[in-house]
Symmetry: C2
């Protein structure tokens, strides 16, 4: 992987372009590198058995020593989740420092500890504070988003300043009272910004996102209309949302119980860092719920995405150890389904209806606001910062294209707008900016303990196994003349509608013996066994036999034991 020439500034997206998730951007100058975000993505249903998806950071493998710093914009998994894997794979001995605003840094520490990587230095940075890494001057800039302490990153380089926005919206009335720092953004524009790398997540939505604080009154309204228990599900990291649920509970004389591991953990971190406040005696344990009348109880729980093991999903299936739902309960989804989770969310909702609960979603009442700015906000960002070049990031190809169109609409020259892909670098030198040579990129998988390219063959095998199951046949033959020594073994798994005792299995044993004796006869003159030929023959004969009988193509694994 060739590095850019001396004096060339490179901005290289390794993740987050042409997809939603696993955001990671390389900023590079004269052999020094800063990484902005190390995010992950959750696997799709086709990635059988894969635990997590990471950006392919092969570009950095031979250049790990050049990485001067890792900066994390905020604590969401698609920005921070790959951190332990990146550290373990690239910097087993001498990791660079990791920088983030206090909550982000706290979450980074917690993740690294979980992976026993607590040697990494994680540095709390306040917004506005400058810090250096190699030739770069760095600064975090406060933005509003659906998690506290979200930041944009200003990277000062010898060629000029770059702004990577992270995820943001221009919330004029955020719950913590501190809107996105438009003043600093305007100053960047006045001073001259070389490149804006901006979040494209909501480029397809017209207008502006509703303010987070507009949600509180609607939650309270909804609470006031409920006579039974109230369960609210939301992202555990959306601490301001959780605060607003607590406020609605206080206002309507209800206690709050936190259910779900990440909900309890984030609540504790948020309290510790002063992002969340609940009056004394307000929070009860899930075990105490039954001590209170239904109209004095609120449960805040995980499961807004219908995740299989989440608290709400288990309640919806009558499978939660502490909480049994019943008719009269109201479940509020204070979140939207992330694309791809619609089916799981709808299934959960329908189970809740079946139990007799009332369900209120963001479609029924304005009880959710996105953390990503809409089209007008993306335009405002460009108008404030007046960048020379624009590179839309964080979005599938549709959203990148729409974001580029917004940039053009506010007057950026189309030649200065770069619609890139993961692995396509933007190189900027004296002559200006242009697309550089493609580097390796894509996805790597976490599967159990291992990180790497899951070879296609392993996934193809899993797909075959999962579609049609597997037949294993064992033939034991004499190494002298290749004749059968003991009865063939037939084992199958994941193949429905047949039974050990079926005639078909007897027929299959006979078929195997015939194959063995045919092969033995054929090779009779030379004696001995051509094991690989026999295996191939067994494979083909058994596969054909099974297909004829079942019209399915399970994987066939022949084993030849020579004695």
């Amino acid at each position: 992987m060739s590095a850019p020439g001396n004096g060339t500034l490179r901005v290289l997206p390794l993740g987050g372009l042409g997809e939603i998730g696993k955001n990671m951007t390389v900023v590079e100058y004269d052999g020094s590198i800063v990484l902005v975000d190390t995010g992950l993505m959750f696997p799709t249903a086709e990635m059988l058995g894969i635990d997590l998806v990471l950006p392919d950071f092969d570009y950095l493998r031979e250049r790990a020593d050049d990485v001067e710093a890792i900066v994390i914009t905020h604590g969401h998994e698609d920005h921070i989740g790959a951190l332990p894997y990146v550290v373990r794979e690239l910097f087993p001995d001498d990791p660079p420092p990791v920088y983030g605003a206090p909550l982000t840094a706290e979450m980074a520490r917690s993740k690294l500890e979980e992976h026993k990587l607590d040697v990494v230095e994680v540095v709390d940075i306040e917004t506005g504070e400058e810090f250096a890494a190699g030739p770069f001057d760095l600064e975090l800039l406060h933005v509003s988003h659906s998690i506290p302490d979200a930041c944009a990153v200003i990277v000062g380089t010898p060629r000029g300043r770059i702004l990577l926005t992270g995820d943001y919206k221009f919330d004029q009335t955020p719950v913590d009272g501190t809107p996105t720092d438009t003043s600093r953004l305007a100053q960047l524009g006045q001073d001259g910004l070389l490149l804006l790398c901006g979040d494209s997540t909501n480029a397809d939505r017209a207008g502006s996102a509703p303010s987070e604080s507009s949600i509180g009154p609607h939650l309270k309204d909804a609470f006031e209309r409920c006579e039974g228990r109230i369960l609210v599900t939301s992202f555990a990291s959306n601490i301001h949302r959780v605060q607003q649920v607590v406020d609605a509970a206080v206002a309507t004389g209800r206690k709050v119980a936190l259910v779900g591991r990440s909900m309890r953990r984030n609540f504790a971190i948020g309290r510790k860092l002063g992002h969340i406040y609940a009056p004394e005696g307000m929070v009860i344990s899930p075990k105490e719920i039954d001590d209170y009348p239904d109209d004095e109880v609120t449960v805040i729980c995980t499961g807004s995405q219908g995740e299989p093991l989440s608290a709400l999903r288990r309640m919806a299936h009558n499978d939660h150890p502490q909480i049994q739902l019943h008719s009269g309960d109201t479940v509020m989804f204070s979140a939207s389904p992330v694309p791809g989770n619609e089916r799981a969310v709808n299934e959960t909702i329908d189970r809740l209806f079946h139990i007799g609960a009332t369900v209120i979603t963001a479609q029924d009442a304005p009880i959710h606001a996105s953390g990503h700015g809409y089209a007008e906000e993306l335009k405002l960002m460009i108008n404030l910062t007046k960048p020379r070049y624009v590179m839309p990031i964080h979005g599938d190809f549709k959203r990148l294209r729409l974001h580029a169109a917004l940039a053009e609409a506010v007057g950026i020259d189309p030649a200065d707008i770069f619609q890139l892909e993961n692995g396509l670098p933007l190189d900027i030198d004296d002559r200006g900016a242009r697309i550089g040579e493609r580097v390796k990129s894509g996805m790597i998988f976490v599967d159990g303990l291992e990180v790497g390219d899951v070879e296609d063959v392993a996934l193809r095998d899993r797909r075959m196994l999962s579609n049609d199951g597997v037949f294993i046949v064992v033939a034991t033959v004499s190494e002298v003349d290749g004749t059968t020594i003991s009865d063939p073994e037939v084992i199958f798994r994941g193949v429905p509608f047949i039974d050990e005792a079926d005639e078909m299995i007897d027929d299959l044993r006979e078929r195997i013996e015939r194959t063995v004796s045919d092969q033995s006869a054929k090779n009779g003159d030379e004696g001995g066994v051509d094991e690989s030929e026999l295996r191939q023959k067994l494979h083909d004969d058994v596969a054909r036999f099974v297909y004829e009988r079942t019209k399915r193509r399970p994987m066939v694994l022949p084993v030849v034991v020579e004695v």
Copy 2:
């Protein structure tokens, strides 16, 4: 499965309640049965390798002789798709006649022929024409829906009339000029309707569905703004939609090519039955597309749901034999994603954006209308037919509940509204209606040639295989003293990151030999081998070994060969 007592009318949903799909309802009186619809459902991602999902019709197995008729309301898969399986499984020798309006009957014949079941008598019925089956007087009633010849079914029984609506909307300006027969519905209400079983699909949508004919002008507008090729994707069975696309093409001077097997087949059937008209020379073959300038071409193709092998999906992946998309092409989705297909649809759209095509969906322009009536239409149906009892059908639990609330809103006594489940019959006798005893119901699977309950174990095995792959170990031991005779074999599939040559595999072989020799030493005194004990021991030792080394739990299949 007990039948209802003499003189009791039973209406038993076997599918379509608490789910979207596989609609099937039993109407039964004094030992005679009429089946209304025999629909299927497509498997979800969790149903690994399953081809199709059918209603469990076990209730009918011992009573197949009692079935006097099968009536199909319309030709959509969720109403007709299970017909060949129901016929094959229940009536291998003497099937009852199948009734439907002409297009529906034609589609039934085509399906039965495909399954070599052309002995079944399929009878064309015109709306308004009465036909008898056992004690029942039957009549089809014309409704508007997203396929021509859709009908509701009136079942006259000794206890009174039942109306099963099938899928319907009150389209006042349908493309074929014949709205839902409100006059006949009103007459049913005047004469006295015992029970209304009504479609609940859009019970959650306020107001009324837009008319199908409102789509045409919007399609034409969109066509007029396009300078390159236009591709329109829609459901192949939505013949009136296809007609409107043809009309827009005619109006803008474009030819039409049909791409995708079901699109071509449905177009041909629609033409034959007079539901579709295209001027002479209008339809060109896909191979001729390149003979025309881009602005004279329209392609109508399958793939509106992002189906893996569909024409559009293949084009989006640059993998279609005839059509290569390029920048300047416009793809119009004249359909909405069916719940669960969102991810596949979004992926397809994003591939199209990546190619540089413009994509217009129903969210961007009103180029799709649902075939199912919204809340106001469901209320109109109840007000017109004035039923004594109401049973919402065709919907998940949420929609059934909302439909029940609509019935209550127009004045039906809540005690006369029955929110049932698959397998829960409504029994009506002299004393009125009540919920009867639950019968077996649920889903059965089509897997290859077979139809049946895929045992949980087969699906559980497939899940395990697909998550973590499989290890097969073969130990060959002496039947005399249980000692190892030849080297253990180790085979694995679907396990990434390991290689035949890995040290781990050598270590595993050693581990197996140790297990064998431990067992042989233990049983040494008695001599021989306890094969099942050795197998169990091998399983446990190998599973533990693999988990320690990989933190994964592949399926472990030990084979012991005694020689």
